[in-house]
């Protein structure tokens, strides 16, 4: 896998960090480079990915969904079937194992919807470590069951009251904790964001998704998919899906959360509507005002509610290799209901953004074409949110 020089993807990425973090980030990079191709490390990680997390995940032909639209064949990469119910475990097992090799006893993490927090808590439990998870206060309310789940798994959850009380503030608080406990603590970042080497490391751990898609599709029809679609918040499931397919002819589409619409200011569509800037240690596209202050975001899915995006996505947008589209809340709910009713699969609201795009693409494509959608997580956590949405909209 390609390793970015100076931690840069074109002009994006880098390390914009307080000096106290520099030795820790350098130590992390050194160890990551040492272990990423280490035979024993790979063997151990592979053991946990297969025996514990449930890899490989199926590439399921969603015939009912495809037939109901009447266009291309839609295949679902079932990351929702992984232990914990989301792709997040691919990364947390990798990083927790690395932290163990580095002899770090204390693990901290941030979480938005709670999926990364739960996946961190699981990885730490199975590897005999303790995790402390920062979570925006608003998200602890929206996703209270995940808070309890983390507690059950032996992790401590710190509700974050600063700023907008969502994912970006949870990251700020995790970084502050890391600065304070630099010697003992490993920061297990959950998305392909942050200072180098996090974006490349998270990409590599998540690339198992795209690697499997490539192999599975080849077995199905001897080809690479015509179109590949994944949702993008920070962008970890998307970069893991896209990266192994970058050198193929596949059309690649990332789907952002357009919330109430791109013109409403109530969205999280960083690549579709943002501008370049520096946040959380990286240069990337951001949602910000005319003064460079980061603006508050909205999405029906807490996991996409983030004003930045992984720097490699910014690069892939600028070189025009990947198209970044968006879906508004109502389209997402429609897609959620459609998949649930046609296939009996309840997708996470994050993943429903990708389904919404797949519906649009399938309508315009031929039956002989194939679309792969990464179903990054299952939707049990979102059932209440959907119920509230439907109640509100039925009344209106």
């Amino acid at each position: 896998m390609k390793y970015p020089k100076n931690g840069r993807f074109g002009e994006f990425g880098g390390k914009y960090i307080p000096e106290t973090l520099v030795p820790a980030v350098e130590e992390l990079e050194e160890n990551y480079l040492k272990f990423k191709d280490d035979k024993n490390f790979k063997k151990e990680l592979n053991y946990y990915l297969t025996q514990y997390a449930g890899r490989p995940t199926p590439l399921y032909y969603a015939k009912n969904l495809s037939d109901s639209i009447g266009g291309a064949k839609i295949y679902l990469k079932r990351e929702d079937l992984l232990h914990g119910g989301a792709h997040k475990i691919n990364n947390t097992l990798g990083q927790a194992l690395l932290a163990k090799k580095m002899n770090k006893k204390r693990i901290i993490a941030e979480t938005g919807a709670g999926q990364h927090g739960v996946a961190t808590a699981m990885a730490c439990a199975v590897l005999g470590m303790n995790a402390e998870v920062y979570m925006g206060y608003k998200d602890t309310i929206r996703q209270k069951l995940n808070v309890f789940r983390m507690n059950l798994l032996g992790s401590k959850v710190h509700p974050v009251q600063s700023g907008s009380k969502t994912l970006k503030d949870a990251i700020n608080e995790a970084i502050r904790d890391w600065i304070t406990n630099i010697e003992t603590t490993y920061y297990l970042l959950g998305s392909a964001v942050g200072p180098h080497p996090y974006p490349v490391m998270v990409r590599d751990f998540q690339s198992v998704i795209g690697e499997e898609i490539k192999k599975q599709m080849k077995k199905i029809n001897g080809k690479t998919p015509d179109t590949v679609i994944a949702c993008v918040g920070g962008g970890s499931n998307a970069i893991g899906t896209f990266y192994p397919l970058i050198d193929t002819n596949a059309e690649i589409i990332g789907v952002e959360a357009a919330g109430h619409g791109l013109k409403s200011k109530k969205h999280s569509a960083t690549l579709s509507a943002g501008s370049k800037g520096v946040l959380h240690g990286m240069m990337t596209y951001l949602l910000q005002d005319s003064e460079g202050q980061i603006t508050e975001t909205h999405s029906i899915s807490a996991g996409l509610d983030y004003p930045g995006v992984g720097p490699e996505h910014s690069y892939l947008k600028d070189i025009k290799r990947v198209k970044y589209h968006s879906a508004i809340d109502s389209e997402v709910i429609d897609a959620f209901l459609l998949l649930t009713r046609t296939e009996g699969i309840i997708p996470a609201l994050e993943s429903a953004h990708a389904i919404a795009e797949a519906v649009k693409v399938a309508k315009k494509s031929k039956k002989s074409e194939s679309i792969v959608v990464t179903l990054s997580g299952r939707g049990d956590k979102d059932v209440e949110e959907v119920q509230n949405y439907l109640n509100r909209h039925v009344k209106n």
């Binding site: 100076n6 307080p18 030795p23 600065i179 304070t180 800037g277 910000q288």
Partner: protein, 266 residues
């Protein structure tokens, strides 16, 4: 010679070290800043750091975070910040340093921002999330216009310190403790050791300031005795500002500043 450099040689001649005071502009409201700055000057502060708020201040503790939030809620704007600086500049020749985060400069363009800031009367910049690896354009833009004050930490190694010294002008900022601004740990032995180690690398070429968690005259004295050329006090001022009625602000700040300043005489 820059105002900051001049200030340090002036203090040298008087056998004094520098007291650097940090305040968040626009906290707790727009009118307070001028009174606070007057108090700082009357009390004997040598350099003033003016904070401009950023929505995501990841190197700051609760006190400065709160001040940032309040300042932004009251509508902090860069153009207004520059007018405040101009007003201060009309009253005094004291070195003024702007402390904010990288994105605020990057968004306007390093070169344009720095020129505008210089015109208003800013002498230097502190950006806690600007690492030397990413600083090329920033340093080029500041050259001849303003000092670039970089930070080192107790865990920064020798080779890196010397690289940072090369990128730094005005003074070098040693982060005293592992933590965010305003952290209450007291004076740590590792900090005193770090002061010695960093001074070996600066070799008297550039003054060394110590900040983060410095809140009392006793702290100031200890760091000065250990070899610091300057101490930076921030959160302690903001706490006083928060708890003092506007009419008494100038006198209360003057009194506290005097107490701190007295500890910088050697």
């Amino acid at each position: 010679m820059s105002r900051i450099k001049e200030k340090f040689s002036e203090l040298d001649a008087k056998n004094q070290k520098a007291l650097i005071a940090y305040v968040m502009v626009g906290f707790p409201n727009k009118n307070a800043t001028i009174s606070v700055v007057r108090g700082l000057i009357k009390g004997g502060a040598d350099i003033i750091e003016l904070g401009f708020p950023f929505s995501d201040p990841l190197a700051d503790g609760p006190v400065i975070q709160n001040a940032s939030t309040v300042s932004l809620e009251k509508g902090a704007k860069i153009s207004e910040f520059f007018s405040t600086v101009k007003k201060i500049r009309e009253e005094t020749n004291i070195p003024l340093v702007l402390m904010t985060y990288t994105n605020i400069l990057y968004h306007r363009g390093y070169s344009k921002f720095i020129k505008d800031a210089k015109k208003a009367g800013i002498d230097g910049f502190i950006l806690p999330d600007m690492s030397i690896e990413e600083s090329k354009e920033y340093i080029q833009s500041a050259k001849g216009n303003a000092d670039t004050i970089f930070l080192v930490s107790p865990n920064t190694d020798k080779i890196r310190i010397s690289k940072i010294v090369k990128a730094t002008s005005g003074f070098l900022y040693l982060v005293a403790v592992y933590g965010t601004t305003g952290i209450k740990t007291g004076v740590q032995n590792y900090t005193l050791k770090a002061i010695k180690n960093v001074k070996k690398q600066t070799r008297g070429k550039i003054p060394l300031g110590v900040g983060f968690g410095v809140s009392t005259a006793e702290d100031v004295k200890k760091y000065i005795n250990a070899g610091a050329d300057a101490v930076i006090v921030g959160s302690a001022f903001l706490k006083i500002i928060e708890n003092t009625p506007q009419t008494k602000l100038e006198t209360v700040i003057t009194r506290f500043t005097k107490k701190l300043k007295n500890s910088t005489h050697i």
